[in-house]
Symmetry: D3
Subunit: 140 residues, 6 copies
């Protein structure tokens, strides 16, 4: 069992607000993150997969293939987009970093090659804040 990790990047706008709340409630809970005209981030996405090493290639999986999956399933749909408005697979999801991580897990997981398991989705919102998700089976 080895673990292979790839870093990717996307830049997006979002705002944090609960559509069932008043503006005052959103302002009270989310502060400047609720700004009606949006703000944005350079997100750094760090995805780890695990499995055994293929003895012929020395690879868990080809990291170029992992990168293509991340580009196609996550970076292309999210890069230079508004996460609240522009992304079908985020419809109805409040785009906190926590929820983004879970949505990205669900987006990537079906595309991994046979024998390779998704281990972790880690997402930096700023250089000082990140969230990690290890899938629905981890419940401490």
């Amino acid at each position: 069992m080895v673990f292979l990790t790839r870093h990717e990047f996307f830049n997006a706008a979002h705002r944090l607000s609960n559509p069932h709340w008043t503006d005052a409630q959103n302002e009270a809970v989310f502060g400047k993150c609720a700004n009606a005209n949006w703000h944005g981030h350079n997100y750094e996405l760090i995805v780890t997969v695990k499995g055994s090493v293929n003895t012929e290639t020395g690879f868990l999986m080809d990291v170029k293939v992992l990168s293509q999956i991340l580009q196609q399933e996550v970076c292309e749909p999210l890069d230079h987009k508004n996460l609240n408005l522009d992304v079908p697979f985020l419809n109805g999801i409040l785009p906190s970093t926590e929820n983004l991580c879970i949505a990205i897990w669900n987006r990537i997981e079906p595309h991994l090659p046979k024998g390779v398991q998704l281990h972790r989705v880690k997402l930096y919102e700023t250089p000082r804040i990140y969230v990690e998700y290890f899938g629905p089976l981890l419940n401490n």
Copy 2:
């Protein structure tokens, strides 16, 4: 003559589009940076001042004061804001990183203490792209 530099950060949304152009022209020139629903960045602001060392303090200037100027004049007005819509001192300015750099220079320069000169405003838009401005007197 020594040079003192301070790093600060702000996160903001923007889009690149020339209001005198059609959508098709903006799309042709700015590509995905013209997305009508905005995108955003974690900007890293790196400001350098220059001057002589005060023999009593060993300081060019107190870096905490420099940080307060940057916070008050740049980070507070720009952080978690939409650079096209929310910032009075960017009114009418297309918020490219080049134009932001120049606007930030103009915003900071009047607030520096006597005897301290602004040397450089450096602004990272992404970890791989930055712009520098050395003021209106530098013309190669």
Copy 3:
């Protein structure tokens, strides 16, 4: 179950020496870290909490609240201090990075909101050395 992490910083002086040992013993074990006149570090503190996502906010917990706890309980008491002399909660503790990590865990843990568990305290002493502590329950 998701994991949320926040980076903070503090700068401090310390020395490594066992008060029950002679200077020669301390010098033999701790080398230049035993320097009688102290040395110091820019510590980077990286704290991870875990729990479930609040469906109304999309948050495990508000990262600003996590930051405030770290500032109040760790950074303010330690920043620009001497870890051997100036910090009541480190009294009698040899300030190795290992011991600092455990002391910081004990300092933070009682302040987390209900439903949020402390997962990891990670402390960089230099850019090439760090220690992690996952709490008293992890005994491998």
Copy 4:
């Protein structure tokens, strides 16, 4: 139980190719990594050990000793070398990052002091790609 980590570096040339395959097969699987005249990397090696804290020293182990083990067992034999040709302990091993990680684990593990366990070998091949190995006992 605490965890102590040390970063080290080495720069090396390698190529990925299976000696039982034709050039065309190697090119098809490994692409430009199969270049017959080699390419190379600045590898960053990050090694974590675990155990309990010695109450007299405050150390899990002396990080200078850990660094010396890594230098002697890994960095000196690999730095400024060709990983396919120059390294006896890599003989017959296709030098993928996955295989390097496992070989480095096997190389370090016998040299750790009594009471200290090797926890993880993490190896960056580029700033955006890394592999981790937690030893032969981890089989998920």
Copy 5:
């Protein structure tokens, strides 16, 4: 006058040796960098251009175009290559970081758009060593 900078990356093998010298001379001058079987690096290339801001676009030049020039003229010919053997434009050049910087300047300079000047080629060989070249006109 503003300055725009773009970071790119390539991974390559090389060795330092003067073909007019004996092996012993090369070993004496270049040490382990003369290893006959090559070694390699993750090079980070940082290129700065300068000029005035186009008032219609807010751009000095489109950074995507700058990136394409760097990819086409530098990264594609050098990435996953042997700098001593595989690169026509480095024929007969001892691939020290100094010489690489100058060769990269000469390679990029003719491709910049009208009105945009090449200002600096900066090349990291390791995270702790870099070389800069400001062109043939700078002679202090």
Copy 6:
């Protein structure tokens, strides 16, 4: 003319206080940096030299020699030391980052090989604060 740069590191304690001032004056000017029991930093030292490229070696100068000069003249005397008490060449100098930069310049400059000029001493006190000195001849 090319420029060659090397990064080095040292960890030290210091305090900022003017010995001709009262404690209250020092506290008013230097704030927590005046803490009587010291504090400390991981300093990052970045030194740039300039000159022409030797056609036989491709080197401005051997970067290993530059590193040795920095180790011997700066890092060994300063690492794990108290900058106010332990360093003969800092006697009587208030160890602000500005004054350290100038003292380091004076310390390095006489040791460079013939034909190589010292261009810049850059010193990070924290990851967000640095000072640069270009020598006594630069007076803007």
